[in-house]
Amino acid sequence: MTARHELAVIGAGPAGLAAAATAAELGLKVALFDDQPAPGGQIYRGVERTPLADPAVLGDDYRRGADLAEAFRASGAAYHPSCGVWLLTPERELGLLDNGQARFVTAGRVIIAGGAMERPVPFPGWTLPGVMTAGAGQILLKSAGMVPGKGVVLAGTGPLLLLLAAQYLRAGVQIAALLDMTPPSNALRALPHLPAALSAFGTLAKGLALKREIHRAGVRVVKGVTSLRALGEARLEAVAYEAGGREQRLDSELLLVHFGVIPESNTTRSLGIRHLWDSRQLCWRPVADAWGNTGAEGFAVAGDGAGIGGALAAEYAGRLAALEAARALGRIDAAERDRSAAPVRAALAKERRVRPFLDVLFQPAPELISQLADDTVVCRCEEVTAGQIREAVGQGCTGPNQLKSFTRCGMGPCQGRQCGTTVSQLIGHTLGRPVEEIGAYRIRPPLKPIGLTQLAALDGEGEAAA
C-alpha cells in the first residue's frame, strides 16, 4: 500500500523544520522529506554535525539552526533524509527518491519549503571549471570543511557574498580580491526604504559588521566593477573586469560569484501554480495568500521558495503554514489558529520590513542581462547563446516555451533552472515588453533525474520493492 500522511513537508531548512515541528506539536501526523542527509537547509547546512573544528567561523546565526533542528527532532514528526521529491500531483501524490529507491506516498496537505537557489547570471567564461558560486564555496565549507587553496576572487553583489568573505577570513583564507558589482546608484534608490528597514536594526547592524570585518582584514575591495569575464582554456586562469574606466586582470584559479538568491520555482511550477514576476527582487515567485496557500488545492508554500525573506522570515512562514494545515485538517479552529498566529505574524512583518531596502541595495545591474554579449552562453546545458536567443526573437519567437523549439534552450538536464530567469528577462528586453507578459518555462516532472532502474523497482502498488 502507498503510505498516507496527514501532512507532508518538503524541505528541512528553517521553513520546513519550523512547519513540521509546529504541526507535529499540534497533533498532526507529519512526514518531512528532504534531499539532504541532515537537517538545516541552506543556511544551517550540517548544523548538527559540522566538520569544522571551530563552528564560530560560520557566525552566530548558525546556532539558531541547532535549536530548530533539536525542536524538530523532539516534535515527533517523521524525518526522511536523503529523500528527494521528484513528482507532485494535484491529488497530492508525492513521488520520492528515498535513498536511491523510488516510492510514492500521499498526503492530506503538503507544505512546500524547498528554499531558494542563487541567481544564475551569465557572463563570458562562466561555464569554465574554476568558476563556481559563492553558495557552492559556502556549501563546501559547511559540509566538507573545504576552503580555497590560494588567491580566491569573489565577485558580484549581495549579503551572502559578504558573509562568505567574512567566513573565509575567520577560517584564515587569503582572499585575492572582492569585486563589488553592486551598481553605485543602488544606495540612493534604496534610501527611501531605509526608515522602514530601521525597525530590523539587528539585520542592518550585522551587515555593517561584516563590511567592517572585511575592511579591517585588509581585503582588496574593488567597487563599481562591470564587464566581468572568466578567462582560460581548460580551466579558469584569470579574471578580467572593468573598474574606474580601466580594464583590469587578476590571475586566479578560483572565482566565486554571487548575484543574490531567487526562489527555486520548478517545484511549484510543476503543479501549474501561478507565478508572478517580482520586479524588486527580479525573480518569479508563486502566488500565495498570507498562510502560504496556493492555487493548487491543499498545497502551501513557505520560506524562500515563496519569495526571498531570509532565514527568520522562513521560520515564521513555516509556523503559519503549519497552523493553517492544522485548521484545514480539523485539529484547531480558525479562532485558535489566528490566536496562535498573531505573534508569529507580527514577528514576520517586522522581519519583512527590511527587505525592500536590501532588495534595492543589492539589486544586480539590469545591464547584466540587457547588455549580455551575443556570444555569451545563457543555457549552460544546451550551450545556447544570448545572440541565438535574440535571433530567435527576431524570427518571431515570443516566449520561453517557444524558444525551446527554436533553439533547445532550457531543454537540458537542469530543466531551465540556470537559464529560465535570464531567458524571460532577455526576451522581455528584446521585445520591449514586461517580463510578466513573457512568462516562463512550463515544468514537467520528474523534478529530479530518476533512472529507469529506479522506476522499475516500483511494484504494482506503487511501493518500492523491498
Binding site: 534531499d35 542527509p37 541552506q42 566538520p51 569544522l52 573544528a53 536523503s82 537557489m117 542563487e118 544564475p120 561555464t127 569554465l128 571549471p129 574554476g130 568558476v131 563556481m132 558560486t133 553558495g135 557552492a136 556549501i139 563546501l140 559540509s143 566538507a144 570543511g145 573545504m146 576552503v147 580555497p148 587553496g149 577560517a171 581548460a234 580551466r235 584559479e253 578560483l254 527555486e264 549552460r380 546545458c381 544546451e382 550551450e383 537540458g412 538536464p413 537542469c414 533552472r417 540556470q418 529530479k448 533525474p449 533512472g451
Partner: protein, 98 residues
C-alpha cells in the same frame, strides 16, 4: 583549487577517482571528494565538448555529472561516497554502450 581546513578525523572510505584510489571521509559528497583529489574537469559538455566542473554544489546546475559505478549522469554534488565506489569523468552526454 580547494584544501581541507584540517583533518576532521572522520571515518574514511576508499573510492577510485578515474581509476586512482583515494581515501575520503564517509558521508562526503562525490563532488567534494573529487574536487580535493583533483578530478579536472568532471565532464565534457554534450554539445561542444567543453570542460565542465561543479558550479552550484546544490543540485541545480548539473555541471557536476559524472559516471558512478558505471552509471553516467549522476550528480556528484548530490551523491555521497561509499566504500568501493568507482567515480569516473564523463564524456559528453554520457551514453554508455548497451
Amino acid at each position: 583549487m580547494f584544501k581541507k581546513l584540517h583533518d576532521d578525523g572522520a571515518e574514511r572510505v576508499t573510492v577510485t577517482i578515474d581509476g586512482r584510489e583515494a581515501r575520503v571521509p564517509a558521508g562526503e559528497t562525490v563532488a567534494a571528494a573529487a574536487l580535493i583529489h583533483g578530478l579536472q574537469p568532471f565532464r565534457t559538455s554534450a554539445v561542444s565538448g567543453a570542460p565542465r566542473a561543479p558550479y552550484c554544489m546544490m543540485g541545480v546546475c548539473f555541471d557536476c555529472l559524472v559516471e558512478i559505478d558505471g552509471t553516467p549522469n549522476r550528480q556528484a554534488c548530490q551523491v555521497r561516497v561509499a566504500e568501493g565506489m568507482a567515480i569516473r569523468r564523463q564524456d559528453g552526454a554520457g551514453e554508455t554502450a548497451p
